[in-house]
């Protein structure tokens, strides 16, 4: 086993440009093989540990006492303490605070609760497929995937469908700050500054977060006057030992839910279709009756919508023999763990009949931060697969897909296709 310093020093996992052409699988595979707990230098920070092995990611995910989400937040870049308090949401807390916030909403996301939205999702999928297939040539990423998850999610929230596109577009701008094509407009940055907010201190460093805060506050006022049986009302009425959520807790929770209910499932639907286009024999297997739930899990493994989340060591510790110091940043690369050869045989083979025996890391490596919306995402991916397969057609590319420039999200900006007979 020889390491090649020149290749290794060229690896920059924090650089958005490194993900523009493709996921840098070769770099992650190199690190898994030669330096699985890798000290990664940072241009404008102290550096971080890059975890690339499944087992290490699972261990750190579950040990919230040693590896905190609250202390340094969950992104690579560090924040000033006052900025942290402004933008802390559930994913930036540890137990028991995390447990309190999570339980306010978790009953709405159980398998049974989600089942009630399956037909909603099916109706949305059918409408979007009908309208796209009528045109024959369309953009799978923006015409079908972008409108779908937000429409299902706001049904759970209790938000009217007329606001779906506004919320989807605003939520999109949470992860596009590093992409010149889709970044929020300069005016949005100026408005944030006028209101006294440094944009880099806002969630995802995006001024779009402020617009979601405003929308959330207005919705909160409405539900205070007109309570309903929906997730928004639950958040507004939520009490813990006599206290309701503070303004900051509420708006950050709202912003987090809209982000998570929109972006991640959309990416899975995009990358899943690209995989079926590039591996047409897998679509044939589905048309021949291969099980949809297993195929949905493979789509989720393959798509890995979020590349990483970060933790911060609360004390001196070790991972896989490497000494980690208190305060060190530890970054869990799910995008690497999902392709770890020790867990997934032939990891670069897209296999709708895969049965790995262990879950992929797309919902995280376990522990209390395991994706709240996991059942909702699985259900929507399965519904879209069912609905697409039942049409008896396939899609072919009419131009190269365009990837989002981001070190965090595996989104597609466009996936231009035409419908052809299967």
């Amino acid at each position: 086993m020889t390491s090649s310093p020149s290749f290794e020093t060229s690896i920059n996992l924090a650089d958005p440009a490194n993900y523009e052409a493709a996921i840098p699988h070769e770099q992650f595979a190199h690190l898994r093989r030669t330096d699985p707990v890798h000290w990664h230098a940072e241009d404008d920070g102290p550096g971080f540990w890059a975890l690339t092995k499944y087992a290490d990611i699972a261990r750190v995910s579950r040990d919230t006492k040693t590896f905190s989400s609250a202390r340094g937040f969950v992104f690579i870049e560090d924040l000033a303490p006052d900025a942290m308090e402004l933008r802390r949401s559930m994913i930036e807390t540890d137990p028991p605070e995390h447990t309190r916030l999570r339980r306010l909403v978790s009953p709405m996301f159980t398998p049974k609760a989600i089942e009630a939205y399956r037909e909603t999702a099916r109706g949305v999928a059918r409408r979007l497929l009908d309208s796209a297939f009528e045109r024959g040539e369309f953009d799978w990423a923006t015409d079908v995937c972008e409108p779908m998850p937000i429409r299902v999610f706001i049904k759970i929230m209790g938000i009217d469908e007329s606001d779906a596109d506004f919320l989807a577009q605003t939520a999109n701008q949470l992860v596009t700050v590093d992409d010149p094509d889709l970044a929020p407009p300069p005016a949005a940055y100026a408005r944030a500054l006028d209101r006294g907010f440094e944009p880099r201190h806002l969630p995802f460093r995006s001024p779009a977060a402020l617009e979601l805060f405003d929308y959330g506050r207005a919705a909160r006022e409405d539900r205070r006057r007109n309570p309903r049986d929906d997730l928004l009302t639950r958040l507004v009425q939520a009490e813990w030992e006599g206290d309701t959520l503070s303004d900051s807790e509420f708006v950050n929770f709202f912003q987090l839910l809209i982000f998570a209910g929109n972006e991640t499932t959309r990416t899975s639907l995009q990358q899943g279709m690209l995989a079926l286009i590039e591996h047409p024999e897998q679509l044939d297997l589905l048309r021949g009756g291969a099980a949809i739930p297993a195929a949905a899990e493979e789509v989720l493994r393959w798509a890995v919508p979020i590349y990483y989340f970060r933790r911060t060591a609360t004390g001196d510790t070790e991972i896989d023999g490497r000494s980690i110091a208190e305060g060190d940043k530890v970054v869990m690369y799910y995008v690497s763990g999902n392709y770890d050869e020790d867990v997934f045989e032939d990891p670069y083979t897209f296999d709708v009949r895969r049965n790995a025996g262990k879950p992929h890391l797309t919902f995280g490596g376990g522990g209390p931060h395991f994706c709240l919306g996991a059942w909702l995402a699985r259900m929507q991916v399965a519904v879209m697969l069912e609905e697409f397969v039942s049409r008896g057609v396939r899609l072919e590319l009419t131009a190269e897909p365009r990837r989002l420039r981001s070190n965090f999200a595996n989104g597609l900006k466009s996936l231009p296709v035409r419908v052809v007979p299967a």
Binding site: S106, P107, F109, T110, K112, G366, P368
Partner: protein
């Protein structure tokens, strides 16, 4: 100790965050309360192999097998 032996399981209510993997896998044994915490039906027993599967598949690590005499 056989895989078919019936064992009891318990949920640590301080650790459970209500993901519901247990309820999906073993709906006869587990139920999610309105507080978002999983509960084991008082009379529920699982074969050891199924109990260990549900323990290993809990993302939060909130479930354990109750060992006799423990």
């Amino acid at each position: 100790m056989n895989d078919d032996d019936l064992v009891r399981v318990e949920v640590d209510a301080d650790v459970c965050v209500g993901i519901g993997a247990c309820v999906a896998a073993e709906p006869e044994a587990f139920e999610l309360g309105d507080d978002g915490v999983s509960r084991v039906h008082p009379s529920a027993q699982l074969s050891r192999v199924r109990a260990e599967t549900v323990v290993n598949n809990c993302p939060s690590g909130a479930i354990r097998v109750v060992e006799d005499g423990a």
